[in-house]
């Protein structure tokens, strides 16, 4: 597959990194330093403006995918529109644009075929909806849905004194139709077997049927009850959209925004939300607004440093759960190491969306967990897929991957060794990134 990436910043670089081993990647950027960094990968780097039609004309020959992820919305849109116009095989070339400005996009991911953009992604809005999902389930630090909501994935932190600690995975009495798919210990990823032992502070990924997952959720405490108190620090695109999503649910919501005009805009739009004009690091303001009684504090300003500082302050002042935005995905694990309960990166969704397109046919959705170390991928099998028709134990499925769930004719099943997958089934696979290419072959 030939992939053209415009913009070698955070997002572009990570997409290139995830794809260069199996694809021909061309990457264009105006910035010299970014180009140098991208050059360390095995990709073709061009120095120039990605919206320049003559540059595009030279490299679009035979391209399957164009990903425009520069920092400028307009450049991304123009690059996609221009490529569509000059591409020889218009149907073959797929275009993806990253767009932040809510004037152009109102949903996290949308389609704009009329202007030549197959997929338009707003990282900020995607991030906001991701945080909203986490908020809905207070005990979980990550939540994803697959197969039209028939399969649910949640990530929990196992507290030191939890009953799971020092037990073998097979001894856990999880609800029917739920399975522990992965364990994260410090920076290590473990695909668990029956005899692996769970330790305190492990992060545990459980996949299962939504109605059974409710019981799992209860095992990690925090029954849904009283009105949760939530504070959002930063009323930018992420904070505002998150507040809009959350305002419908029964939350007691406060937003701190430092820009006066911006706070006015938010207050006008969301009359039920208490908007405070001030700085998230102002301890007096935080104390005055009763931060120690907050259930969740979410720090989503544009500055990673500030988000970290606000989160740590909040944690220090006694907040139960803090969520912080980190634009640089490298920092995510660092944030979580120093005490942020959940660090989220707006770039991740963009990367996931692009990866989904490159995996080709059969992929329905994809979720990255713990940075890019592992992915949960949902495939739809066809009759020709290699995996169909034989018991699973006879397959040489890669060791870095596990088939977590199969949705067969609407029923969710945990497949055992004797299980035979049929054509048309939806299969949810947990896979380490190194095993992705191997796994994909089984579903072709």
């Amino acid at each position: 597959m030939k992939i053209v990436i415009i913009g070698a910043g955070e997002v572009g670089y990570h997409i290139a990194k995830a794809l260069y081993q199996t694809n021909d990647v061309v990457i264009i950027d105006k910035n010299e330093e970014a180009c140098e960094r991208a050059d360390e990968l095995d990709v073709h780097v061009l120095h120039g403006n990605g919206a320049n039609v003559s540059i595009l004309n030279d490299i679009l020959e035979g391209a399957d995918l164009l990903v425009a992820v520069t920092g400028s919305d307009e450049v991304n849109i123009v690059a996609c529109m221009g490529s569509k116009l000059i591409a020889k095989d218009k149907d073959k070339l797929k275009t993806v644009a990253m767009v932040s400005n809510p004037d152009y996009i109102d949903k996290p991911v949308t389609k704009r075929p009329q202007i030549g953009i197959e997929v338009m992604i707003c990282p900020e809005l995607s991030l906001a909806s991701e945080i909203a999902r986490i908020l809905a389930i207070p005990s979980a630090i990550d939540v994803e849905y697959f197969a039209d909501g028939k399969v649910e994935m949640m990530e929990f932190v196992v507290p030191e004194n939890h009953s799971f600690v020092n037990k073998h995975v097979q001894e856990l009495h999880l609800a029917n139709c739920c399975i522990v798919s992965a364990l994260f210990r410090d920076s290590e990823v473990i695909i668990p077997h029956g005899d692996d032992i769970i330790k305190g502070n492990d992060r545990i990924v459980v996949i299962g049927k939504p109605d059974s997952m409710v019981e799992v959720r209860d095992m990690f405490g925090e029954k849904v009850g009283k009105r949760s108190k939530v504070m959002i620090i930063g009323g930018g695109i992420v904070g505002f959209y998150l507040a809009k999503l959350v305002a419908k649910s029964d939350f007691d919501l406060k937003i701190i925004e430092s820009n006066k005009e911006r706070s006015m805009v938010i207050a006008e739009e969301l009359p039920d939300v208490l908007v405070l004009n001030g700085d998230g690091t102002d301890i007096d303001l935080l104390k005055n607004e009763g931060i120690s009684n907050m259930d969740v504090v979410i720090s989503v300003t544009n500055s990673d440093e500030k988000n970290l500082l606000c989160s740590l302050l909040a944690k220090q002042l006694g907040v139960k759960k803090v969520i912080a935005r980190s634009d640089r995905s490298d920092y995510v694990s660092l944030f979580e190491m120093v005490g942020v309960d959940s660090a989220v990166s707006p770039r991740q969704t963009t990367i996931n969306e692009v990866l989904k397109l490159t995996f080709g046919q059969g992929i329905e959705s994809i979720a990255s967990i713990e940075g890019e170390k592992a992915e949960i991928i949902e495939y739809t099998t066809s009759k020709k897929s290699k995996i169909v028709g034989k018991p699973l134990k006879n397959m040489k499925f890669p060791s870095g991957a596990i088939i977590s769930m199969v949705v067969h004719k609407g029923n969710t099943v945990i497949p055992r060794g004797e299980y035979v997958i049929e054509g048309g089934d939806r299969v949810v696979v947990f896979s380490l990134q190194s095993a992705n290419a191997e796994v994909e072959k089984f579903f072709k």
Binding site: I256, E257, K260, S263, M264, I266, A267, E268, P271, L274, V275, L276, N277, G278, L285, N288, E289
Partner: protein, 477 residues
């Protein structure tokens, strides 16, 4: 300030007023009354207008200050020239100007005691001044004179009641036209309804003039009580209520969205205040005055609507009520009707926004950094509008206090000086004490009358238009 421009426009306004005075002349002709007061008035007013226009031909562009001057002096000129028929009918000059100003500003305070002794044409003119003043002389002028153009906007703003301008159409002339048409349309319905209720055509027209304008002049000394008909009272109550609401809202309800009334914050608050005041007053009349519940309610609803919309009709001499009843009427005197209506007073929308403003101040004492926009019909009210409202209320109460003080110095008692001040400043009409609904303002001393005339003028133009001319900045080049 460009005097030439102002005098030029005033000239046009006077010619226009002279033409309007032909109407009472025709009425006099029909009833066989003396033609001389109106003939003289038409000639004097018209000639002055022609002379002014002849002398000042300036058609320079004008700015906000010329706009204020035209509106303020235009109203003063209308009151003075409109008083000519009264003077020639035998009123003293001060009384004639008082009656005329009370008419144009839709106050309804009268210096007449023996109303029925005056000719039908004089009483018709008296009611008609209210009808013209109700929707606004300048507004009518904007409709008639196409050449005003952009400048019409300045005038519209300086005259229109309410804190913000409510444009129905992009062009101000079209807006003014629609408002006048809606006004005329509802007036015709009221005339028809009153005739159905067995009123004579003459009474129906004169009472419609003063109801729709929230004026309150009646051709009977006993006001609406003279008819002693619950049916007529119901009709008048209904139309006073309509006239006290925003005419732009009436237009929207009739032509664009039938639900407009239910969506309008001001209208809802207006109805709420009337409902609560009526209930409390009914209770007070029933318990303190020994009326039956039905009679108490009949008096209460009519009187609350009449005073709150600043009309000033009376079906009962409320001067005889106990203080508990009077205090309710006094309270609604300060409120007034809605913005964009023909009523006076502080206006419901200002009170509504001030309450929200106060509520926000309380909220901010707990959350000092909170950002809370003040909203009206789910739109944010800009800060400068809020500041204008606060200063309006401050100046309003200052004028009220000063005029009360002046009247007491002239020897009037506290209740009379207090209520005559608010009744003229709010364009209501009758007060309590010596200026009660069945009494007359003739007892007020000469200087007191001048103060009250100024009150009516300032109140009708919502304070700023007149008061701004007292600031040195206004006259500085």
């Amino acid at each position: 300030m460009n005097h030439g421009v102002v005098l030029n426009v005033l000239g046009a306004l006077l010619r226009f007023l002279g033409a309007i005075m032909v109407v009472p002349l025709l009425v006099a002709l029909y009833y066989g009354d003396s033609l001389y007061p109106f003939l003289a008035a038409v000639i004097i007013t018209g000639l002055t207008g022609i002379l002014l226009s002849y002398k000042y031909k300036s058609t320079d562009e004008w700015k906000a200050r010329e706009g204020f001057a035209i509106v303020a002096f235009g109203w003063l000129a209308a009151a003075i020239f409109g008083s000519i028929p009264f003077m020639l009918d035998g009123f003293s000059p001060i009384n004639a100007i008082f009656e005329s100003m009370s008419g144009f500003t839709t106050t309804g305070a009268t210096i007449l005691l023996d109303i029925e002794s005056h000719s039908k044409s004089i009483l018709f003119w008296r009611s008609m001044t209210q009808w013209i003043g109700g929707m606004g002389i300048i507004m009518l002028f904007i409709v008639i004179l196409p050449k005003l153009g952009v400048a019409g906007r300045q005038l519209f703003r300086a005259e229109a009641p309410g804190p913000t301008e409510d444009k129905i159409k992009p062009r101000i002339r079209e807006t003014a036209k629609i408002l006048w048409i809606v006004y005329l349309f509802i007036s015709i319905i009221e005339v028809a309804a009153l005739i159905l209720a067995k009123m004579s055509l003459y009474d129906a027209v004169t009472h419609t003039f003063t109801t729709m304008a929230c004026g309150g002049f009646s051709s009977y000394a006993n006001s609406v009580a003279a008819f002693n008909s619950p049916f007529i009272e119901t009709i008048i109550t209904f139309f006073m209520f309509i006239a006290g609401a925003n005419f732009a809202l009436h237009y929207r309800t009739l032509y664009t969205d039938k639900q407009s009334f239910l969506k309008d914050d001001e209208f809802k608050f207006y109805s709420l205040i009337i409902a609560v005041a009526t209930l409390v007053l009914t209770f007070s009349l029933w318990s303190d005055m020994g009326e039956t519940i039905v009679t108490a309610f009949r008096y209460a609803i009519f009187q609350v609507v009449s005073i709150m919309t600043t009309t000033g009709f009376a079906t009962v001499d409320f001067n005889q009520w106990t203080d508990s009843g009077k205090i309710i009427l006094l309270a609604v005197m300060f409120v007034g009707g809605c913005a964009g209506s023909t009523s006076g007073g502080i206006k419901v929308v200002r009170l509504f926004l001030l309450l929200k403003y106060a509520q926000r101040a309380l909220f901010r004492s707990i959350h000092p950094k909170a950002v809370k926009p003040i909203k009206l019909n789910s739109k944010t009210v800009p800060d400068d509008v809020m500041q204008a409202i606060v200063s309006f209320v401050v100046i309003y109460f200052m004028i009220f206090a000063v005029s009360t003080g002046l009247l007491s110095l002239l020897g009037m008692d506290l209740i009379s000086s207090l209520t005559s001040s608010i009744a003229t400043l709010g364009n209501i009409g009758p007060g309590f004490g010596v200026v009660g609904p069945m009494a007359s303002f003739d007892v007020v001393p000469f200087i007191g009358k001048l103060v009250l005339i100024a009150n009516m003028w300032i109140g009708r133009l919502e304070v700023f238009t007149v008061i701004v001319m007292l600031t040195p900045e206004f006259w500085r080049r």
